[in-house]
Amino acid sequence: MSRLGNLGARLYRGEVGYDFIGKRKIWYGVSILITITAILGLAVSGLNMGIEFKGGAVFTTDTKAKVSVSQAHEDAVAASGHEAIVQELGNGGLRIQITEVDTKKADQIKAQLSEDLGIPEAKINADLVGPSWGEQIANKAWAGLGIFMVLVVVYLAIAFEWRMAVAALIALIHDITITVGVYALVGFEVTPGTVIGLLTILGYSLYDTVVVFDSLKEGTQGITKQTRWTYSEIANRSINGTLVRSINTTVVALLPVAGLLFIGGGVLGAGMLNDISLSLFVGLAAGAYSSIFIATPLVADLKEREPQIKALKKRILAKRAAAAAKGESAEDERDDLTDDLTEPAGAVVGQRRQPGGHGRTPRNRR
C-alpha cells in the first residue's frame, strides 16, 4: 500500500511515468494490428448469432431430465426436424436450442419434448423468437449507436473541443471493433444481452476518456503563455497523473462485472447475465486501454498540428537547445519564466492561478 501510495505520488509529480505520447506510434501500431485482426476475424469466421437474431426456440428445463444429453439431442431433432444444440446446465437442467422454427411450431415441439424427456410442460421454459425480431433489435441498436455518437461528438466538441471529440470517437470505434472482433474470433454467441453490453461500453469507454480529457483540459490552460512544456508533454503528464484513477476505476468497474460473469457463466450456464457481462468485460478492458493509449495521444497529435501549438513547440525546442548550450546557468532563468505559467505539473490539479513559488509546485521539491 505504501509503495502504491508512493507510486501514486511519484506519478502525480511526474517523477516516474510512462511516456505514453512519445511511444504512441507503438501503441497505434498495436491497436491497428488488433483492429485488423478483429476485422479479419469478423470477415472470416463471422459472428455466431443467437436465436434471437435468427429466429427459433430455446427450451430450458428446470430439473434434471430422465434422458442423457445425446438422447435429448436426438429427441429434439426428431421433434423439430431441424438441427438442435443441447447443453447441460450447472443445475442439471438441459438447454435445447433449435433454430429456424416459427413460434407456432415451437409449441408442438415443446409438447413433444415434454413427452420425450419426461418433464411436465409447466417445467419447461420456452423462449420463442420470430425471425423479424432480431433484425428489429439489431436495427434499433445501430440507430442507437449512430444517435449516441452524434450526440457525444457534439457534446464533447462543446464541452472540450472538436479534436477531443474526434479522438474520443476514434477510441470508441476502436473499442467496439475490438469487442466485436473478440466475439467473432472466440465464437461466443451474440444475443440481445451482448448488444446491451456493447452499447453500455459506449458510455463507459467515453466515461473513462472524458476523465482523462478533463484533466488534460485543465493542464493545458494558458499553454501558449509559457515556454516550458509542449502540448504533448503536458498531455503525457495528464495521463500519468490520472493513471491511478484510471486503473482504480477500471478495476472497480470490472470487479462487479467479474462477479456477474462468474455467477452467470458458472452457476446459470448460458443466459442473459453471462452475455451482458462477457461483452462488458471485453469492452471495459478495451475502453480503459484506448482512453490511455489511443484517445489522448490522438488529441496530442491533432493539437500539435495547430499553428499556435506548433510555434510553441518550436520556441520550446529552440529554448532548450540554447539552455543546453549554456549549461547549468539556464536553470534559474527557466524557473523564472515558468512563474507565470499555470503549473504544467499540476495537470491533475490545474486551475491554480497563484505563482508557482513557495514550494507549492512539485517541481520545486528538492
Binding site: 430450458t60 423462449d127 453500455t200 468497474a253
Partner: protein, 555 residues
C-alpha cells in the same frame, strides 16, 4: 432520502415489482404490421387502441394482472403472470379482433334466464330511445341490470316472433323481446339449439362470457353477452363488419350538451349499413337495435330510428370516457393493423427465482470485491465510499419499489445487471474525489482545506463523466426495445442517483470526517496519511529547483 424511504413504506410497496423473467410467467411481444396501402397506420392512436382491445381480451380470460403496453413505435408487450393458462392467452392475443354489427333478436339479463319468468317487459333503461333528433341512440338497455327478469325464456323461434311483434308497444323499454328477421332462413333445429344456449348462458361468469360466441361464423346467428356481463343477446348474422368502418370518434354535442359517438363508413360499408338500418328502423324495439359485438361481446346495442348510410351517430347517456371507449372499439375494427408474435418467452417460477437469486448473488459478490479493493487501497476512506454506496443502494431500491406502481416499472434481469454495473460508476465518483483529495494532500495541505479544494474540481469531472454515461443510457432507452430498455433505465437511474449521492451525501460526510481525529490527523489507516501519500513536508522551502527530476521526456 428518509422521506423517500418513508414514502415507500407508507405506500405499502416495499419490494420492486418483478419482471416476467424473475417472477415466472409468459411474455409475448407483438409486432404491428400495417395493412397494404396504409403505411401510416402504425401510429400512437392506433397502437393505444390495440392495447386496450388486447387488454380487454386477455383480462377477459380471467387472467389477473396481465399487463399490456406499447413499447417503441410498433411493438406491444403482453405480460401474463405465472399460474394462468398461457396457451389460451396466447391464442387470444394472437388472433385479430373481430368487430361486427349484428341485428339484435333477443335481449335478456345476464344470468341464466329463469324458466317462465313473468314480467312481460322489464323497466329497461328508461332512456327515451326515440329522441327525434338522434339518428340512432343507445338506450343502454344492455347495461341496465334492472332488465334482468324477462320473458325471454319463453321466446321460441318464429312463432314467438310474431307474437312479440304484436305485443311490442313503442314504449321506451329495451328489455326482453325478440325478433328474428334474419334467423328466418336458419333451420328450426339450429334455432332451438341456439335458444337453449341463450337460455342457459350465464353472463355473470367471466369465462362463460368469453366463450359465448366461440367458433361462430359471422354469417351465423349467435348468442353473446354484454361486456359488463349484465345482459345477454341473441344476435342475427353479422351484417356489417368492423373493416367497413372508416373512422369513429367521440364528440361533444354543444347543442344538446351530451357526448355522442360518430362513425364514418367506407363506401362498401355504407351500402351495407344502409341496408341494415333500413330494415331495422321499421322494426319495433328491441329488434330495431343492432349490437356492436367485439370478439363475441356486445359493447353497445343502439337503436335505429331511421335509415342511415355513410355516417351515423350513436347517442345515449355517454360520459366522455364511455364515448371514447366506444369510439376506440369501433375504430379498432377499422384499424389497419395486424399483429404477429415476435417473441414468446415462458419462464417457470423456479427458473425465475433462480435467476433472481443469481443476480443478487452476483451483485453481492461484485459489491464485496469492490469493497475489498477499496479497503485495500483507500483504507479508512473506504468507509465513506461504502456508506455512500449503501446510501445509493437504498435510494435505488426505494425508487424502484415506488416506480413499480407509479409507472409500471418491473425489475427484470437486464435491469439487475444494470444495477450491478452501476456499482462501478458510482464507486468511480468517489475515486475521482478521493484522488483529488490525495493530490491536495501531496501538495502539503492538511486535510480540511484539501477536502474543500478538491471538491470543485472533482465535482466538475464527476458531472461531465456522469453526463456522458447518462446520455448513453437515455439514448439506449429511447431507441431500443425489450430487454435493452430495462437495462438502460436502471443505468440512467443509478447514474442520476450517483450525482445526488455524491453531492448530498459523500461530500458532507467527507467534510464531517475531516474534522475527526482519525482522518484529520492522518492516521495510517485513514488512507490519508501524508507520509504514505508521499506528501512533501509542508513548507516554505527555497525556490531552487531540481528540474531534472520531473522533466518529462521529449515527445
Amino acid at each position: 432520502m428518509v422521506a423517500l424511504t418513508g414514502g415507500m413504506f407508507l405506500s405499502g410497496h416495499t419490494t420492486p415489482r418483478l419482471g416476467i423473467d424473475l417472477a415466472g410467467g409468459t411474455s409475448i411481444t407483438l409486432k404491428a404490421k400495417s395493412q397494404p396501402g396504409k403505411p401510416e397506420a402504425i401510429n400512437e392512436t392506433n397502437m393505444n387502441t390495440a392495447v386496450s382491445i388486447i387488454e380487454r381480451r386477455v383480462n377477459g380470460l380471467g387472467v389477473s394482472e396481465a399487463e399490456v403496453q406499447t413499447q417503441g413505435a410498433s411493438n406491444i408487450i403482453v405480460n401474463i403472470p405465472k399460474g394462468t393458462n398461457s396457451a389460451q392467452a396466447r391464442e387470444q392475443v394472437g388472433t385479430t379482433a373481430q368487430l361486427y354489427f349484428r341485428p339484435v333478436l333477443t335481449v335478456a339479463g345476464g344470468a341464466p334466464t329463469p324458466e317462465g319468468s313473468a314480467s312481460p317487459s322489464a323497466t329497461g333503461s328508461g332512456k327515451p330511445s326515440a329522441t327525434p333528433s338522434a339518428k340512432a341512440s343507445d338506450p343502454e338497455t344492455a347495461s341496465d341490470p334492472k332488465a334482468t327478469p324477462s320473458d325471454g325464456a319463453t321466446t321460441q323461434g318464429r312463432a314467438v316472433t310474431g307474437a312479440l311483434k304484436k305485443d311490442a308497444t313503442p314504449t321506451p323499454s329495451g328489455a326482453a323481446e325478440s325478433d328474428a328477421p334474419a334467423a328466418t332462413e336458419t333451420p328450426d333445429a339450429a334455432t332451438a339449439a341456439l335458444q337453449k344456449k341463450f337460455t342457459e348462458l350465464d353472463c355473470t361468469d367471466k369465462a362463460a362470457r368469453a366463450a359465448a360466441g366461440d367458433g361462430v361464423k359471422p354469417e351465423d346467428p349467435t348468442v353473446a353477452c354484454s361486456s359488463e356481463g349484465d345482459a345477454k343477446y341473441l344476435l342475427g348474422p353479422a351484417e356489417v363488419s368492423g373493416t367497413d368502418v372508416d373512422d369513429a370518434k367521440a364528440q361533444f354535442d354543444q347543442q344538446r350538451g351530451i357526448w355522442l359517438v360518430s362513425m364514418e363508413f367506407t363506401d362498401k360499408g355504407s351500402k351495407k349499413f344502409q341496408t341494415i338500418t333500413k330494415k331495422l328502423s321499421t322494426q319495433q324495439s328491441p329488434a330495431n337495435q343492432f349490437a356492436i359485438s367485439l370478439d363475441g361481446e356486445v359493447v353497445s346495442a343502439p337503436q335505429v330510428n331511421e335509415t342511415l348510410s355513410g355516417s351515423a351517430e350513436i347517442s345515449g347517456s355517454f360520459t366522455q370516457q364511455s364515448a371514447e371507449d366506444l369510439a376506440n372499439v369501433l375504430s379498432y375494427g377499422a384499424l389497419p393493423l395486424s399483429f404477429s408474435e415476435d417473441t414468446v418467452t415462458t419462464v417457470t417460477a423456479a427458473l425465475g427465482g433462480e435467476q433472481l437469486e443469481a443476480g443478487l448473488i452476483a451483485g453481492a459478490i461484485g459489491l464485496a470485491l469492490v469493497v475489498i479493493y477499496l479497503v485495500a487501497y483507500y483504507r479508512g476512506l473506504a468507509l465513506i465510499a461504502l456508506l455512500s454506496l449503501v446510501a445509493s443502494g437504498i435510494l435505488t431500491y426505494t425508487i424502484m419499489a415506488l416506480l413499480g406502481p407509479a409507472i409500471g416499472f418491473a425489475l427484470n434481469l437486464p435491469a439487475v445487471c444494470g444495477a450491478i454495473v452501476a456499482i462501478g460508476i458510482t464507486a468511480d465518483s468517489f475515486i475521482v474525489y478521493f484522488e483529488r483529495i490525495r493530490d491536495e494532500i501531496r501538495e502539503g495541505r492538511t486535510l480540511r482545506p484539501a477536502v474543500e479544494r478538491a471538491w470543485p474540481r472533482a465535482r466538475r469531472t464527476i458531472l461531465v463523466s456522469d453526463f456522458v454515461s447518462f446520455l448513453a443510457a437515455a439514448v439506449l432507452f429511447l431507441v431500443t426495445v425489450g430487454k435493452v430498455q430495462g437495462f438502460a433505465f436502471t443505468l440512467g437511474l443509478t447514474t442520476l442517483l450517483d450525482v445526488v449521492v455524491v453531492f448530498l451525501f459523500t461530500k458532507p460526510v467527507m467534510t464531517l470526517m475531516a474534522r475527526t481525529k482519525f482522518f484529520g490527523g492522518g492516521h495510517p489507516w485513514s488512507g490519508l496519511d501524508p507520509k504514505r501519500l508521499g506528501a512533501k513536508p509542508p513548507l516554505r522551502r527555497s525556490r531552487r529547483v531540481n528540474a531534472r527530476t520531473d522533466h518529462p521526456k521529449e515527445a
